[in-house]
């Protein structure tokens, strides 16, 4: 579904991504792991068209490198940013409404379904998004992206700053999303849920992919975890 080949990106003269390559298949959960500053978030931003890329980004066989963010989103890639970026003055319902790409809504997800999956959001549907807890905001942000009916969703550090119980909920939601045929690129610093829910994973270091494998193989690769992941 998503094939990234020899992806390079720069911030000014700083060479951030240096020939990144990876793939995400249909309905697959793939994790992109690595310490802070290795280029994980830049990879997401580059795929979403926020950073100018050099290299190839194929989505469903179509070259999307160089396209604008809204065109990429319309093709079927959803993005849940690291800072969540909900609209604090808009209500929960309005935030969800914004995720829809047309007033007809999504074929796979409906607002009622979101409220059934997350009763907290349903109960606070007419409350401004800014007053929700961190966990609720994370759920709202993911639901908002789902309302656009993406075929691939990229989620940047969804468990950051959340209580262990909420982290579990996030993991369950991601599995539920994947079970409906949506591919997931999970970008994480910690191994918390990545090892449990991922089908495959990649580890990044110095703007490159330094390891590629499965959760089981990574668990056995002590040297990789020590060198590229553990603090």
């Amino acid at each position: 579904m998503l094939k990234v080949k020899d992806l390079n990106a720069w911030y000014g003269k700083s060479h951030i991504l240096r020939g990144v390559h990876f793939e995400v298949g249909e309905g697959e959960i793939v994790s992109l792991l690595g310490r802070n500053g290795v280029g994980r978030s830049t990879t997401v931003k580059t795929i979403m068209g926020e950073v100018e890329p050099s290299g190839s980004i194929l989505f469903k066989g179509q070259q999307i490198a160089g396209k604008k963010s809204y065109e990429i989103a319309k093709l079927g890639i959803g993005c849940v940013p690291e800072n969540r970026d909900i609209f604090p003055s808009l209500t929960v319902r309005q935030n969800l409404l914004l995720g829809m790409k047309s007033s007809k809504g999504s074929a796979r997800w409906s607002m009622e379904e979101m409220f059934r999956m997350f009763p907290n959001l349903g109960e606070r549907a007419d409350v401004p998004g800014g007053v929700l807890s961190g966990g609720e905001q994370q759920m709202l942000c993911m639901c908002r992206t789902l309302m656009g009916d993406p075929e691939l969703i990229m989620i940047d550090e969804p468990t950051e700053g959340l209580a262990p119980k909420v982290v579990e909920q996030v993991g369950e939601l991601l599995q539920e999303i994947a079970s409906r045929g949506v591919a997931i690129l999970l970008v994480e610093q910690k191994l918390t849920i990545a090892l449990r829910i991922s089908h495959r994973l990649y580890v990044m270091g110095h703007g490159q992919i330094v390891y590629e494998g499965t959760p089981d193989s990574l668990l056995q690769a002590d040297d990789v975890r020590r060198e590229w992941l553990e603090v």
Partner: protein, 316 residues
């Protein structure tokens, strides 16, 4: 005194709501692009001139619809092919661009329509006194101006707060990247808002032209007041723009209608002064005389005591 206050209030409402039509577009554009559009009042002037020319052939009512649409389309094209390109060079370049545009429009107006005041009149159907109170007439056309302004305010409020496109606009103002990532064409939204904002300024020109006279300096006369309103209301705040517009409209109207002045204040304080005193001119100032500078005095006070404006959230 009572009848003076009633008519001053009505006239203040007319002026205030007219100013709001200009200020609402300006503040929406500022919220989105982070730049003050110095040419905004020029679109108001274009609205009046377009309507004047159209009304010569088709009459006032078609002009009321066509002129704001033409101004809005022109505004949208200027955003798309001018401002958007300049945007890449930063805010200073944008400011200079809008400054230049204001001069360009003024020169173009003089080139095409000349320097003389145009005989742009209100329609005959509205040329009658709506009511007479205490022997004074209130023109039906002014009531029409109030009606149009309130209708625009309600429509704008409804679109921005109750429709999907309004919610997208609100979100794009503060989080353009996130809105783009959700699949919405943000540059198109910006162009549309610029077009609607300038179209509203054009509409203000169409309805104000017959009352405030249509001449090449009309943009300058109202332009500076509109900036005062946007700053007093709070940069980027629509509610602030409405309150500040009404405040300025009523303040000026009451000041003009009042017969109070410094001599009354000094008498009340029990202070007397000599006629040949060097400050005699200041002692004799009356409120109608200082009415034109009251908005600027208010601006200075707001900037000193509440720099972000009455409803503003930004410190810029």
């Amino acid at each position: 005194m009572f009848e003076v206050m009633i008519f001053a209030t009505l006239n203040g409402l007319v002026t205030g709501l007219l100013l709001f039509m200009l200020a609402s577009g300006l503040t929406l554009i500022f919220s989105m692009m982070g730049v003050l559009n110095f040419a905004h009042a020029s679109f108001y002037m274009l609205g009046a001139y377009f309507a004047y020319s159209i009304s010569l052939y088709l009459g006032f009512w078609p002009a009321l619809i066509v002129a704001p649409v033409l101004v809005g389309v022109l505004g949208g094209l200027i955003e798309r092919y001018g401002l958007r390109r300049v945007h890449k060079s930063g805010h200073v370049a944008e400011l200079i661009f809008t400054f230049g545009l204001a001069f360009l429009i003024e020169e173009a107006v003089q080139f095409f329509w000349g320097r003389a005041t145009k005989d742009y009149r209100s329609p005959d159907i509205l040329d009658f006194p709506l009511f007479t109170l205490f022997g004074q007439n209130f023109p039906a056309y002014k009531a029409f101006m109030i009606f149009i302004s309130i209708a625009i305010f309600i429509a704008l409020y409804f679109v921005l707060t109750r429709t999907r496109i309004g919610i997208i606009i609100q979100a794009a103002i503060t989080h353009p990247h996130t809105v783009a990532n959700l699949g919405h064409n943000v540059p198109l939204i910006f162009m549309a808002v610029f077009g609607v904002g300038t179209g509203l300024a054009g509409l203000a020109g169409v309805i104000a032209g017959p009352v405030l006279t249509t001449f090449p300096g009309m943009a300058m006369v109202l332009g500076s007041i509109v900036f005062v309103i946007v700053v007093i209301g709070g940069l980027g705040s629509l509610a602030g723009a409405l309150v500040a517009s009404l405040l300025i409209g009523l303040l000026q109207s009451y000041a003009i209608a009042s017969d109070l002045g410094m001599p009354d204040l000094l008498n009340w304080l029990g202070v007397s002064f000599e006629r040949d005193h060097p400050l005699n001119d200041i002692w004799r100032l009356t409120l109608p005389q200082i009415a034109p500078i009251l908005p600027y005095l208010l601006l200075v006070l707001v900037l000193i005591f509440r720099p972000s404006g009455l409803f503003g959230k930004r410190e810029s």
